[in-house]
Symmetry: C2
Subunit: 421 residues, 2 copies
């Protein structure tokens, strides 16, 4: 052997336990989305590079896995889904009742420095509501985001959803005489304020004739500065979700395409990155696809949330339970008499046809060893096929009890015991 | 607007119905795998190009989406999973009980001419049993492959699994004095026989001093030419799956790494490509990862099987049913009195917390229109919140019946009606 192959830096192998953890998060994303009447869609992993430069400018190329394909096309592994969504929605928006409630779960790629909570590939949940301008749409989306967290086992102790209205800042900037690019630059300053030294912020604001005090005053005010924001907050209170929500006008979101309500979910006390974020983007579908389709949406990546689950007791318990359940079979078939192999195989087929998860020995092994394997595997029951066949023994491996039944009655007996299938 | 963006050639957009169809196939793959005690894993979408050239030679590069990344690494979008599996299994084989029963569902990329049943991207189910040389392992895998087809609704009318043993050919070739590369070249001739004019095959075989008649005689013989093949067939008969299986020594599989039993699933009568294929590859993990781990596995792509489902009545019915169920909510909340919005939102939250899929109006609309929307959406029930609140009406939209209950009793009433959650 020359080289031993390794996974590329920033990429991940998902061994079975990792994959079960990934699937658990996917299942929660899917389950909660469906409760809100959202349907799943997916776009291609590879898109024309221009789809991203159109929206975000040429500098995005530095973060892209981009290349020239064998047909001389400039293509990129997708760094995000929103441009694809805009392309797809614009192309076929007439085929769908509005509002469109769409979600997606897929993988994305960004060539950046490998760091905690962010790899060069990651999975992301995207959830968008298209064709509705009412504040109730923003609230519906925010409620869904909160319910994702609740379904994972997080409570008001663990996270807050901070909501803001970019338009409050646009109106503020306009009142100070700014317009166009000036407003965009001003929003960038607000976005970076928390991570910028105070003196620097003061200086940057000074260029626009705005004081840090005036900015702080707006940040300190509540939902009353924006009727839309007030409506969103009231809507969430009516749902009983008010305790999860905090008005924080310091949130403006970096991306230029947001046009109204914006929000982010933050953990409390773990100091991680934002867990999810999104907002209203009423002009993007027009920009990408030439169709006027107002929309709001948000995204949640798999890496930060999984780190947070692992660091929090109840969410971690639920995850571990899901991982254990994923790997365990319902029935470990123990062959106690090798002359009964044909009967054991036929029985395995019957159980599998009935929907049970069944493991069976592929080579002869001592009965004691077969039981050891069954127990260490986490199997729920062992069914022993031996010389008494067609009578078989069912062992409940957790309770360590044994019952006997006819092979023909085994499906019913197992259904009673396992309470499912 | 300058350009309208389009999906790249050979790539697919999955609009909600397409995505539901995809997920239905994924669910069947997952469900049946779990019945066989298999656990899911996943590897990275991007791997070092050498991982593929090591196994398949430099010419594979012509079919790869390969490029140089920003860190000067030669990388490729994965064209198949087996090399990644071999890498992963070799790296951590000590952590897993043998045999390892692993499956994976993911996307793959090949730069080839776009044609029916094959795009430049496709999803593929991979299923492998590692660490077991017994013929019972090959049979277990083949049984799983057959059960995938059965679970989709296919019967003996629709498909056959053709099974063969490459070693029967190796022994034949050896008896004719061939060895090493000669055997490999000979196997290539057998693999391509069906698609090659008879005279050409005769000529190619002649080089090795072998007659077409001798080859046809071996193809015409049955499982008795290989004890392992006979054991696999008997095992499948004991499971009651004999009718799905056909010994066909004409199957040798193109890839050089197979070392024993090989098999393919073919449709009957539709003339499509092979639906699935695989076999034993006892040396590949050693080649890629330097660890002696005998294995067998198979793969099934999403495109041919989906075409076949669409072309076959019962499988198509199951698929359509799954698509319809995917898009429908349990409850369409109808707001008949706008002063009850807070109550309706609170009720929606309660129902969603209980696991129901609920749609609700985001803007005021006439009651008649809300009902029309509910019905055209395929919703199962409509729940009317009106001036009688806290009494609500439940309409069963299929049966067109109405019942009334207290809002506080709604979760129970809906569970009775929907028979689930």
């Amino acid at each position: 052997m020359a080289t031993r192959f390794q996974v590329l830096p920033g990429f991940r192998d998902f061994y079975p336990d990792d994959c079960a953890a990934r699937n658990y998060v996917f299942d929660v994303w899917r389950k909660v989305s469906r409760r809100y009447g959202f349907v799943e869609y997916e776009g291609p992993m590879l898109e024309p590079t221009e789809l991203y430069t159109r929206k975000s400018g040429a500098e995005i190329v530095n973060q892209l896995f981009c290349f020239t394909d064998k047909g001389e096309r400039e293509v990129s592994l997708r760094p995000e889904l929103t441009p694809t969504l805009a392309r797809m929605a614009a192309a076929r928006h007439r085929d769908f009742r509005k509002p469109m409630r769409w979600f997606s779960i897929g993988q994305f790629f960004r060539y950046e420095r490998h760091q905690k909570g962010r790899g060069r590939e990651f999975y992301q949940f995207n959830c968008d509501l298209l064709g509705e301008t009412a504040a109730a749409a923003d609230a519906e989306l925010i409620a869904l985001a909160i319910d994702l967290m609740r379904e994972l086992g997080f409570t008001t102790e663990h996270f807050r959803l901070r909501v803001s209205d970019r338009n409050a800042w646009v109106r503020f900037a306009e009142s100070k005489g700014l317009e166009g690019d000036g407003i965009a630059s001003f929003l960038q300053i607000i976005d970076k304020m928390e991570r910028t030294p105070e003196e620097k912020t003061r200086e940057l604001l000074g260029v626009f004739g705005i004081t840090l005090e005036a900015v702080r005053k707006l940040i300190g005010s509540g939902a009353e500065v924006s009727p839309v924001l007030a409506e969103v907050v009231e809507n969430l209170q009516q749902r009983g979700l008010g305790d999860y929500v905090e008005v924080d006008l310091g949130i403006v979101r970096g991306l230029a395409y947001y046009t109204g309500i914006v929000f982010e979910i933050f953990d409390i006390g773990q100091g991680m990155r934002a867990i999810a974020g999104g907002g209203r983007y009423d002009q993007l579908v027009e920009l990408i696809g030439g169709v006027d389709l107002p929309a709001c949406g948000f995204a949640m990546g798999d890496m930060v949330i999984t780190d947070l689950i692992r660091a929090t007791s109840e969410p971690c318990r639920r995850l571990d339970e899901a991982i254990a359940a994923d790997g365990a079979v319902d029935v470990w078939l123990v062959l106690a008499d090798e002359t009964k192999q044909a009967e054991a195989l036929s029985l395995a087929q019957t159980l599998r046809d009935a929907g049970f998860r069944v493991a069976l020995p592929l080579t002869p092994a001592k009965v004691v060893k077969q039981f050891q394997q069954a127990e260490s595997s986490g199997a729920i029951t062992a069914v022993v096929v031996g010389s008494e066949f067609p009578e078989v023994a069912i062992k409940d491996l957790a309770k360590r009890t044994e019952t006997r039944c006819a092979a023909a009655a085994l499906v019913g007996a197992l259904r009673d015991l396992l309470g499912n299938s």
